[in-house]
């Protein structure tokens, strides 16, 4: 398994697309730093960009990577190792490479900018952590889709739809729900709805670090209290854990009954 992970990782970091992806982050970070010396502004702009890009890249990269490696994976399947080990190693190679892209692309320029001397160190870490987390979750969903659907066009379409759902449609449904139920106390519902979508969760964790909690009025107060409390952190951790464990469980189930 370790050797599969190693080779999957090597394959990824030598890929042109990962190179372009890292370059994109480097470029954006450097450009933002040059446009505004203010680390808060740079971090706000970067968080807007990463929240949009990482899930999309994660899911598209993931599906594509699987479809392109399918024949090689078949060859591995004839070796005396279990399917699950092969897939989890492949997936981990991908996820680690994506996270590394983020750490290099965003982390390096900001470190040179002197982020560790500014008052925004915790926001910086949250941003990197959330970007990595979204990459991990969405590339896992990508593998799930790709393994489930042998047809590449179908798989890619579903990946795009799923990304659209979590990035945009879900929030629309949340807003609709809140509008319909606006006469009821909504803070618990709002919090639960945010917990259920990793992109929203990441966005809110970043927002709270941006001091926008003050803007959130009562809900903001409830929210920052909730997240500050140990129960809140526990639920957030649990939500993120479920977002990796459940897809992994489903992936495992599909693998056990799939013909290659």
């Amino acid at each position: 398994m370790n050797s599969v992970l190693k080779y999957s990782f090597y394959e990824m970091i030598r890929s042109r697309w990962l190179f372009i992806y890292t370059g994109f982050y480097l470029l954006v970070s450097v450009a933002l730093i040059m446009l505004s010396g203010d680390s808060t502004k740079v971090l706000i702009s970067l968080s807007n960009i990463t929240l949009g890009i990482t899930p999309m890249v994660g899911i598209l990269f993931g599906t594509n990577y699987y479809y392109n490696s399918r024949e090689f994976i078949q060859l591995l399947l004839c070796q005396p190792i279990s399917r699950w080990k092969i897939f989890s190693a492949f997936y981990m190679g991908l996820a680690i490479a994506l996270c590394l892209s983020i750490i290099v692309g965003i982390g390096l320029p900001l470190t040179f900018m002197g982020i560790f001397k500014s008052g925004n160190v915790s926001l910086f870490f949250i941003l990197i952590a959330m970007a990595c987390m979204l990459s991990i979750i969405f590339s896992l969903l990508a593998f799930l889709i790709a393994v489930k659907f042998d047809n590449k066009v179908k798989g890619l379409s579903i990946a795009v739809l799923l990304w659209l759902f979590f990035a945009i449609i879900y929030d629309g449904l949340v807003l609709l729900t809140l509008l319909v139920l606006k006469d009821y106390p909504l803070d618990k519902l709002t919090i639960s709805l945010m917990l259920a979508n990793p992109i929203d969760l990441a966005r809110i964790l970043i927002l709270l670090k941006l001091d926008i909690s003050a803007m959130m009025g009562y809900t903001g107060a409830v929210l920052s209290k909730f997240i500050g409390k140990s129960l809140g952190s526990l639920l957030i951790a649990l939500s993120l854990l479920l977002w990796t464990l459940i897809p992994m469980g489903i992936l495992r189930k599909i693998l056990n009954s799939k013909d290659f």
């Binding site: 050797s3 599969v4 190693k6 080779y7 999957s8 090597y10 394959e11 030598r14 890929s15 392109n68 490696s69 399918r70 024949e71 090689f72 078949q74 060859l75 591995l76 399947l77 004839c78 070796q79 005396p80 190792i81 279990s82 009954s257 799939k258 013909d259 290659f260």
Partner: protein, 235 residues
């Protein structure tokens, strides 16, 4: 060695294998023949555990292979189409594939046999189709396992390499190995195989010695014998 009982495979409504009973054992080269869509690749994939049977059982050395993967230690397999990670070099892939099975490997001899010494450091994406197939062969054969399964091994190979492959396989057979091979090239099968399994429409139509098949159909060679067999079917 490989024992197959009432093997069935359905893909939704399409039935590909309709109850296969087979006992493959001993040594020597066995040619698995049949027209396109007759179920050859599915049968091989079932043996390798890549395709899960809809019914029946497969035993390897007396053990049901269902849910197992260790038995694959004893099988070398050459897939019909192999694609490798494009950004890795040939030698890196060989090293990777070496790591999965125990025992001595003999990739050096095979690299020499196919004249690949200069290609090893190149990335897979920069290799010609023929060289990729040779790398594919090196990987498939380097482990020296007792069973070798080859799916269309001659695809994309130049005549010299085919000759070398043939003599290599003959030698393996003489060393006591069991070699199962599918091919469209009848001369290859005829020149190598002692036994023939003929699949048609998901069923076994012939399973026996090559000479027996030739005698039975009265053809001059394997190609005409097979044609004869197919003719009889359609009548």
């Amino acid at each position: 060695m490989i024992e197959i009982k009432q093997l069935q495979k359905k893909y939704h409504k399409l039935v590909v294998l309709k109850g296969i009973d087979l006992d493959i054992s001993g040594r020597g080269v066995i040619a698995l023949l049949g027209p396109n869509g007759s179920g050859k690749t599915t049968l091989i994939k079932c043996i390798l555990g890549m395709v899960l049977p809809s019914g029946g059982q497969i035993f390897f050395n007396g053990e049901n292979i269902k849910g197992k993967n260790e038995y694959r230690n004893d099988i070398d397999y050459l897939p019909q189409i192999a694609q490798f990670p494009e950004n890795l070099s040939a030698i890196e892939i060989i090293e990777l594939m070496k790591s999965f099975k125990q025992g001595e490997t003999r990739e050096k001899a095979l690299i020499q046999l196919f004249g690949l010494e200069r290609e090893l450091e190149k990335k897979m994406m920069n290799l010609s189709g023929g060289n990729r197939q040779k790398i594919n062969l090196v990987i498939a054969l380097m482990h020296d396992s007792p069973v070798i399964i080859l799916d269309e091994p001659s695809t994309g190979l130049d005549p010299l390499s085919i000759t070398r492959l043939k003599s290599f396989l003959r030698n393996e057979s003489n060393r006591g190995k069991l070699i199962l091979l599918t091919t469209h090239i009848m001369s290859l099968a005829e020149g190598m195989a002692e036994k023939v399994i003929f699949l048609l429409d998901g069923r076994i139509r012939f399973n026996g010695m090559m000479t027996e098949l030739l005698d039975m159909q009265g053809g001059q060679d394997l190609e005409s014998s097979i044609a004869q067999l197919l003719d009889n079917e359609t009548v």
